[in-house]
Symmetry: C2
Subunit: 287 residues, 2 copies
C-alpha cells in the first residue's frame, strides 16, 4: 500500500472488478448465467454486456444508452466528503487494504439515508399511482402533506449543476426506451416542478437522484439494484480520496477526540441486584 505502483494496480483492479460483481449480483437475482467481462468494450458497454448479453456472440450496446450510462457514471464518481467517502478515509487511515476500505464504504452507501434517495423517488412514484393523479399529489405536498422525493439538495441551494446534464442524459434514454406509466408520472412531476412558482421559488428543482432513479427504472432495473449501480462509479471517487489520503505525509489514524458527557462516578452494583431503584440510588449525576 505504501508502494505507488502496487497502489495503482489495486485501484485498477477495484475499478475493474466492482462492475463485474455488480453485474453478477444482477444476473444472479434474475436467474441468468454470468457474462464474463469483454476487454474490447469500453467501461459502460462492458457493464451493459455483463448485464444484458444473452446468446449473441458479441453484445452490441445501444450507443445512446452507453453514452448516457457513461455520463451517469461520471456524474456519480465523487462528491466531496459524503458519508461513504468519509468511511473510506476512516477505514483507510488505519492502513487497512483498499479492498476492505471499499467494502466498508459500500456498507455506508447501503444505508437508506445515503444511497437510498433514488429508491425513495420510485416509491413516491408508486404512491402517486398514475399521471392524472400528479396534480392532486402536488396540491397535497403544497398543503404540507407528504414529501417530494428527489427535489432540492442539501448543499446545492440554488441548482444542482449535475441535474442539467443528467436531465439531458435522461431524455436520450427515454428516446430509446420509450415511456412507461411510471416514467410519465415522473415527467409530469418534473414539468410541474420546473414551472410552478411554488417549487421554483423554493428551489425545489428535480435533483440527480430524481433523474438517476427514473433512468434506472426506464432501463428496467428494480429499485433494490439502484444502490449497487451507485457504488460502481463511486468506487472511483472513494479510491481517489483514499489515494490522496495515503499520499499525505501528515496522514494519521482517524480517531475523533471524545468529550465525555455521561454520568460522574457511580457505585458498583452486582448485575443480579441492578433494579431500576438500585440504579437510581447508585449516585453519579447525568448532566
Amino acid at each position: 500500500m505504501h508502494n505507488p505502483a502496487s497502489r495503482k494496480l489495486q485501484i485498477y483492479r477495484l475499478i475493474g472488478k466492482v462492475p463485474t460483481i455488480a453485474a453478477y449480483t444482477y444476473r444472479h437475482s434474475v436467474g441468468f448465467p454470468y457474462v464474463y467481462p469483454d476487454n474490447e468494450l469500453n467501461y459502460a458497454e462492458n457493464f451493459m454486456s455483463m448485464l444484458w448479453k444473452m446468446t449473441e456472440p458479441k453484445f452490441k450496446a445501444n450507443a445512446a444508452l452507453a453514452r448516457a450510462l457513461d455520463i451517469l457514471f461520471i456524474l456519480h464518481a465523487d462528491h466531496e466528503q459524503n458519508c461513504s467517502a468519509n468511511v473510506m478515509r476512516a477505514v483507510g487511515s488505519s492502513h487497512a487494504d483498499p479492498f476492505v476500505c471499499t467494502a466498508a464504504a459500500a456498507a455506508a452507501l447501503s444505508g437508506p439515508l445515503h444511497g437510498g434517495a433514488n429508491e425513495e423517488v420510485l416509491k413516491m412514484l408508486d404512491q402517486v399511482g398514475s399521471k392524472d393523479r400528479v396534480p392532486a399529489y402536488v396540491t397535497q405536498v403544497k398543503a404540507g402533506h407528504g414529501k417530494l422525493m428527489g427535489f432540492g439538495h442539501r448543499i446545492y441551494k440554488n441548482y444542482d449543476p449535475r441535474a442539467r446534464i443528467i436531465k439531458w442524459a435522461a431524455d436520450q434514454v427515454f428516446q430509446v426506451t420509450g415511456k412507461n406509466p411510471k416514467l410519465e408520472i415522473a415527467l409530469e412531476l418534473e414539468r410541474i416542478a420546473l414551472d410552478d412558482e411554488y417549487f421554483v421559488s423554493r428551489k425545489l428543482y428535480p435533483n440527480v437522484d430524481f433523474y438517476s432513479g427514473i433512468i434506472y427504472q426506464a432501463l428496467g432495473f428494480k429499485p433494490d439494484m439502484f444502490t449497487v449501480l451507485f457504488a460502481i462509479p463511486r468506487t472511483v471517487g472513494w479510491l481517489a480520496q483514499w489515494q490522496e489520503m495515503i499520499e499525505d505525509p501528515e496522514q494519521k489514524i482517524a480517531r475523533p477526540r471524545q468529550i465525555y458527557t455521561g454520568y460522574t462516578e457511580r457505585n458498583f452494583i452486582p448485575i443480579e441486584k441492578r433494579t431500576e431503584r438500585a440504579l437510581a440510588a447508585q449516585g453519579g449525576v447525568k448532566p
Copy 2:
C-alpha cells in the same frame, strides 16, 4: 433498526455469532473440523470449546484460562472513539444495518495502525531472539536505535489502568501454560521496563497490547489471529456505540464539512493532450 426489540435481537445475534465466525476461521486455518457452539458453556468457555475441542463429548475448559480470557474480553470491549468505533458510527449514521456496520468496523480494525499493535510486540520478541539478548536490545533502544513495541500509550500518559488487570490475568495464564522462550523474553523485557529508571521516568510501562500479545502466544495463537481475537470483544463496544447513536434523537448522517484547498479554476485539456507541460500551463493556482 428503529424497533428497539429488533435492535436488541440483532445485537444478541452479532455478539453470539462473531466468536463462532472467529473460531471457524481458526479451525479452518489449522485444517480442523468446525465445532458448533455449546449453549451450556459461558461465553469464554464456549469460545474455547469452538477453538480447541477435539473428539471428547464435552469440552472442559481450564477454569483459570477461561477466567483470564473473559477478563481479556472485558478489557477489550470498548475504548472510546477509536478508529473502528468511529467507523461503526459513520457507517451506522446512514442507517445501514448493524451487520454491515460491524463488518466495516472490523475492516478498520484490520489496519496495522489499529489492531496490529500486539502483532508488532511478537515481531519485536522475534527480533530480540533470546532472553540473554534482552539487555543488549534495551541498551540499543535507550541509545535511540529501534523501538520498544507495546510500551506506553498515546492516551494514558501515566499508566494504562487496564495494564495492571491484564498483567494479573497474564500471570494466571502462564501458571497453566508454563513458559516458552518467547514468553521468557517478554517477561525479561517487562521486568526491566518496570524497574529501570529510564523506562519508569518516561512512563514506558508495558501496555495492554504487550500483555495480550504474549497471552495469545502462550495460548498457542499465531500473530495473524490476534486481530480476530480483538474483534470478538470489541463487537460489544461497537454495538453499544451504535445503539447509543441510533437512540440519539439528534442523530444525523455523518458527513464532514470539507474545506477545499486545491487548485483554483483551470482550463480543460483533452486527456490525450495532458502532458506535464500542458498541465503546468493550464492556469489555476495550488495554494
